[in-house]
Symmetry: C2
Subunit: 548 residues, 2 copies
């Protein structure tokens, strides 16, 4: 509040000042702005993942629930943020941060983000967004075309049509998936005869009207955890999210899917949607979309594709075939803040049919009036920022061939790394990369041999110990802060479907070099030595197995 003055009182004059644009390059705020940029650039350049400080220690800096009674100078508070917050945040842009889908950003988006923040548009309605509304509609059109490849006349007719919508821009993939299932549910339980539709009368009456005993959404056992949340919110219940068996490559088995549907129908449970995953979160696998589409068509199910992470692959003419069949989906989720390299908060759901979203359309008196082009009449969220602008800018500045290069290099790097892991005697690749995601674990060579000779119960025991080791290595590596891989739990067939903890790597950052990948393995090998007791226990068991 005191960017331009030196006293520390609260006055209406000083408040007016904070709402006034600073004049000239010598203003205090301009100086703070420049200083902040330098500081952030310094932070972003550091090739570490995080400072080593336990969370409990950091929490001490954020333990006061009282709203301050005394204002702080902008400069002082900025310094405070740099010391307590920035220095203990995660370097998601570090080339050695390869554990999650959050990655480095193209640097040009930093200055461009100012447009979004400074203009403070609200995309829920034209009256607070004007040109941002057609811009967002164009972005949705571009993504729609990327998936469905309709012709110019299609987009000319629907992209800016007040009563239609090619999709919705959301805060993220979870809201996008919920929106898709909301639309699917409402279309499945639509008005009929005296029944006014589930949106009006609710689920209980809908079920009674249609004579169903339950509703189901089917997805592979590798589906994203947020789908359970969606099933809960939408009143279907988590048990209504039916997990379908996957093959050895973590892809849904079409036959198992078909059988499940028959089984559900026999119980008067309506399978109203099937979700194909194009890039599972844990293994990066892509379901056989064309086959799912065929089953959905026969069974009259809504076919949704969760391509939150993998959808960006469509930008590459060399790899888009991996998602063949996505164009048959009724709806598709894509997160621009994943492989389209946009800052956090840019999810999208696209619908094949421009009138699909009719079933969730809503209006109000003061905005979203019928016939208006207000985007809010087709979104789950209300007030929303102009994030679409950053997608628009990146599409123009990077262009499709630029994205193609980014996608291609990440897939090829993942293949390189998988190969590199397989060449190591003491590492084991658990899931092959289809895109740029793979899983593996550390298994000393002597242990690998023991596995081949172990009885069932010995295998279980050995696997348990290895899980402990993997967890230890992952945690210690994260805490050390030089590099970061994540971990998850899989049930690989090769290990008799035992719970198996694995390292999980996502190779999105183009600055991640092969050297860095090599040193991640080296570091893990070294960390294993820091658990001598556990290692001795493992070796001892391996020894027993070999001699039994």
């Amino acid at each position: 509040m005191k960017s331009e003055q030196k006293t520390a009182d609260v006055s209406f004059e000083s408040l007016l000042r904070i709402f006034t644009i600073p004049e000239g390059p010598d203003s205090t705020l301009t100086k703070i702005d420049e200083e902040l940029s330098r500081n952030l650039n310094k932070f972003l350049k550091e090739h570490i993942v995080a400072e080593e400080k336990p969370l409990r220690e950091i929490e001490k800096d954020f333990s006061n629930a009282s709203i301050p009674e005394q204002p702080e100078f902008v400069s002082d508070h900025t310094q405070h943020l740099l010391d307590t917050l920035v220095s203990h945040s995660v370097h998601t842009s570090a080339p050695s941060f390869i554990g999650h889908m959050t990655s480095a950003l193209p640097y040009f988006l930093m200055p461009l983000s100012k447009i979004m923040i400074a203009l403070n548009q609200n995309l829920v309605k034209i009256e607070t967004s004007k040109a941002f509304t057609p811009l967002e509609r164009q972005v949705l059109g571009m993504l729609h075309r990327l998936i469905y490849s309709q012709d110019d006349s299609f987009y000319g007719q629907w992209m800016h049509s007040a009563n239609h919508s090619l999709g919705a821009f959301c805060s993220g993939g979870t809201i996008a998936n919920i929106t898709a299932l909301w639309v699917a549910r409402n279309n499945a339980l639509r008005a009929q005869g005296d029944f006014k539709g589930v949106e009006k009368e609710g689920l209980f009456k809908a079920m009674k009207h249609y004579g169903y005993e339950g509703l189901a959404v089917l997805v592979s056992e590798r589906g994203h955890y947020s789908l359970k949340k969606a099933a809960d919110v939408l009143g279907i219940g988590q048990e209504g999210l039916v997990a379908v068996k996957t093959d050895n490559n973590n892809r849904i088995c079409p036959q198992a899917l078909q059988e499940k549907i028959v089984e559900l129908k026999a119980q008067r449970i309506k399978p109203f949607a099937v979700i194909g995953v194009a890039g599972t979160t844990e293994t990066g696998s892509i379901d056989p979309l064309t086959q799912i589409a065929q089953i959905c068509q026969e069974e009259e199910c809504h076919f949704h594709v969760d391509a939150a992470w993998g959808g960006a692959t469509l930008m590459s003419n060399n790899y888009r075939h991996l998602l063949d069949g996505v164009e048959l989906a009724d709806s598709v989720t894509i997160d621009a803040h994943k492989q389209l390299y946009i800052p956090m908060g840019a999810g999208m759901v696209l619908f094949k049919q421009p009138d699909a979203m009719k079933s969730i359309e809503h209006h109000a008196q003061y905005i979203l009036r019928k016939g208006s082009k207000d985007l809010g009449s087709h979104t789950l969220e209300g007030s929303r920022s102009g994030m679409a602008m950053l997608v628009y800018a990146a599409m123009h500045i990077i262009s499709r061939p630029g994205y193609e290069l980014l996608i291609d290099q990440s897939i090829e790097k993942a293949k390189f790394f998988a190969n590199h892991i397989e060449q190591q005697a003491d590492f084991e690749l658990v899931s092959e990369p289809e895109l740029c995601l793979l899983t593996y674990r550390y298994v000393p060579q002597s242990i690998q041999e023991a596995f081949t000779q172990a009885t069932e119960s010995q295998t279980e025991k050995l696997n348990e110990l290895l899980n402990e080791l993997t967890m230890f290595i992952q945690k210690r590596q994260r805490e050390t802060g030089k590099s970061f891989v994540s971990r998850t739990r899989l049930n690989p067939e090769r290990l008799h479907h035992l719970n198996t903890i694995v390292f999980r790597v996502v190779l999105a950052n183009p600055l991640t070099s092969c050297d860095i990948l090599g040193s991640v393995l080296k570091e893990q090998r070294e960390i294993a030595k820091q658990a001598p007791k556990l290692m001795a226990k493992i070796e001892k068991l391996a020894e027993q197995i070999r001699h039994s």
Copy 2:
């Protein structure tokens, strides 16, 4: 993609460059950054609301659904954005933009926003947010304390507890309200005996288990439109959102509420939540919260307060009494992007009980593991940005007394404006401001007299014509772009509950002077003259009424 080079090809080297921090103050990107700041400052300083250009014209600039095959220079694209987007966006920060809750921002938030964008943290989990997680928990604690005034030991115990949550940070009030009702629904239909809870088995089985014929959420007829959306999504159905009669001040009638509850129960419909509105969107009215709380306690309903807009009033020791009873609510929605002057995308829902959100808790294998402090286990959204940082910074830089001044001045300005409107012979105040929102319309004096002598059908006819006039004035004023008020439809008792279109004004911007308010009225009076045919029609009818 070409910020640092002059050729126009796509190469992997140029892609690496866009992910690399620019060096020094002479880099092209630094220059673009500075140029952009100057341009935005110029735009923000213009005291107009929007450039006069029809939406259809603007759409032409955003009509290409193809993703470009050719990259653009950052500098060229920035210029393109300034020409086509920025110049045709809405000046939400203009002091004459008084039509919606989106307002000017404290300027210091612009540079601070860089921290959020550049660090690109993902708040769903500690591993991608570290210090941002305790920061967000502190912000939720601060808002919780602002509402519920618990003591230090309460916040010491719960604020950072892994298995508890004082609330959820959301993209906006709609998601906040949905979250509150989701929690309320799941708590009302919790596990019991063999029944595993609505979250697991879904709504249909829950209703059968509990023997209900329907579910209901009660709210005044002035409740926000998003609540209908919430009722739809949650499977309750829009008809399950039961509108309760309001008094002449647009506040819910407690007796009518009580009666409705009895009526619903008699039909075996479970009223599981009542929503009190603290600042209705259309009239800014505050429901009698203490009375609602008492009814909720007796009826064992979840009591939610939608204070998305009005909640910030709690910052003022002079006016927080207007929200008396809010501390009795089980949950409260507050949007920081409304009267807390934070950029778009900062909604929050707070829960009185730290374990209230247990009923929507969810976990996954690779994140949100049990016992982790990952925020994502209690949010509807998944990946989320570090917006909480901006709330934190504003709380410290503005401080509570600073916010108090902002709130007080806006309420007092609204009182001044209401008074000013009443002094005009040709304007009519329709709803008094409780906070900084009021509604009014333009009614030439001779027409006002006619109203007093009109028969019922004449009143209806006259009112219809005045509605047309109000709509004409509002649209023309918006299109002219000098100032902006919104419009809505009310049913005031004084007008026999006829549909009445009114101007709606929200006085949030501290730079909005009394002079500006005066000229808004003057402009509206002038615009009325631009509809001579309509005016003649109105005068003629008034004449008839006077002589009948």
